[in-house]
Symmetry: C2
Subunit: 310 residues, 2 copies
């Protein structure tokens, strides 16, 4: 089994992962879990790929909003279109900060613009547009294709679980259909196992297509994650991995299983291989102590961070 | 492949099913569909098991409502609790008839009572209660266990599709978590592939469980079926099977695939093996002509209707 995690250093974290997989797959052992119940859930942004300088979906949306402003300049009177058109992204960070401080007015504008970028589009057309983005776009700071912005050790962990009959799911605050093409291509997680924030959908009987509505269905973060895990999988997971405050309920939910592993990726690398930050993870790091999450130190546990350029 | 549909008669319908499976699995043929895209969706009530004299979930709910009235007699002042307590079920039929006539007041009471039967219950406790019902209850008119109220030819069709690398899903107006235990046990369809009407859910962080809220999330019928198919599977199905008006959008949605099969079960048996009825299927039967659905005649296409008692 050792060969399956080549990008991991030989640390206690790696041993804890391998021990857990051994324990739940040992049919003679006390912690055995039948294959059908081996559900593993992964946050995406900051857990499976980098979320710095900002989440990839925002890079995509900025291009969409810029194009919308080009078509209708009056949009630039309001946010976040103005930010997209002028490249002054400070407003975006403020909107999120305000949200965590309890003021959702700017977040409301943001959500409206997120839904507005796809409203009326068929799901097939959106998948094609998103796939083209993944094919052509380059990451702002890493200057690589997005395929090279994934955390290689985590992809190896997904492969390890696959090879032991786990069903791996993405459970992310990111928008579900934006993640589907990359989850399949970059992680080998099929589209039906991607759970995320959901835009409203409507069936257009005349055209016989499903289209996005101008509304949000739900934001998949915090306590919504366990809810959506149950709705989709009908199981309580036995393994959960996250990196931020919004992942704590999902990690705790997994810990309610008789045998479980709760993994928290800590962005503590000081060698410039990965951006180091605790912002947005303060509660999660505190909860890691209280609830004995297994903390993955980027600095100490990962020999390699990103995949080698092909 | 012939042996896989032993309860079917040697008819054009059976040939159409076998030809379709041949065509989409022939990697050298013009209609080949890769395994990952072989998604098949099945309505449940009236398609995979009998929905007469009424849907099984109602049999379960009547017991729940009766117990609620026993605990709080004042509930019997309102419907549907009075109907449950007195055994006068006419009101229930009227509520549904009124709904189809555009008056949803009684349906609102019904939905409130459906959600009220589980509000505050953890998903695990509900699964245990539902599983006990399936183990112990007997069907009102067939006088068998519910395991023997499934349509044996349709179960064989699911097995045929399984053996050709389809992913089969339930897509039903029935409540999702009520169906999960029986879908797995009776059809071999795992819980993560059950799509249905969804009760609201909430994460209770203190108890670390997911519980039902007193609200309905969505009613999975009509145009909502294509929407929920996309949300869950990320695919347009290539095979859909239903039996009533609410299945037409799902059947049409499947027909938007380059190769597809839309199956409509017609309850036309006049030999007393199955209840014969067209009520609630009028539009679907008309659409079958217009859109060339493949109609499954219970009378002509099925040699056996229900599984033999074990």
């Amino acid at each position: 089994m050792t060969d399956l995690l080549p990008s991991w250093r030989d640390t206690a974290t790696r041993a804890a992962i391998l021990d857990f997989v051994d324990a739940v797959t040992d049919s003679d052992g006390p912690h055995f879990v039948p294959a059908g119940d081996r559900v593993a859930v992964f946050d995406n942004d900051g857990t499976l790929w980098t979320e710095k300088p900002f989440v990839t979906q925002l890079a995509y949306l900025l291009e969409q909003w810029k194009a919308q402003v080009a078509a209708d300049p009056s949009l630039a009177d309001t946010q976040p279109y103005r930010a997209a058109a002028t490249g002054d992204l400070a407003w975006l960070g403020t909107a999120v900060d305000k949200h965590y401080a309890g003021d959702d007015a700017d977040l409301g504008l943001l959500i409206k613009a997120v839904a507005g970028a796809t409203a009326g589009t068929s799901v097939e057309d959106y998948q094609a547009a998103v796939s083209a983005f993944y094919r052509d776009a380059r990451h702002l700071t890493l200057q690589t294709s997005y395929a090279h912005t994934v955390y290689q050790p985590m992809v190896e962990l997904i492969r390890l679980l696959d090879s032991h009959d786990f069903r791996t799911y993405i459970v992310s605050g990111g928008e579900r259909d934006f993640m589907r093409p990359m989850a399949e291509e970059y992680y080998g997680i099929p589209v039906q196992r991607v759970i995320g924030t959901a835009l409203g959908l409507e069936y257009d009987a005349d055209a016989n297509v499903v289209r996005y509505s101008p509304s949000l269905d739900f934001f998949d973060d915090g306590g919504e994650k366990p809810v959506r895990i149950w709705a989709r999988t009908g199981k309580r997971p036995i393994l959960a991995a996250g990196n931020s405050n919004g992942d704590v309920p999902m990690l705790r939910y997994a810990q309610g299983s008789p045998a479980s592993l709760a993994l928290l990726v800590h962005h503590d690398d000081d060698a410039g291989r990965d951006v180091a930050y605790d912002k947005g993870a303060e509660d999660a790091l505190a909860a890691a102590d209280t609830h004995r999450f297994t903390v993955i130190s980027v600095r100490d546990d990962w020999e390699t961070v990103f995949p080698a350029e092909g």
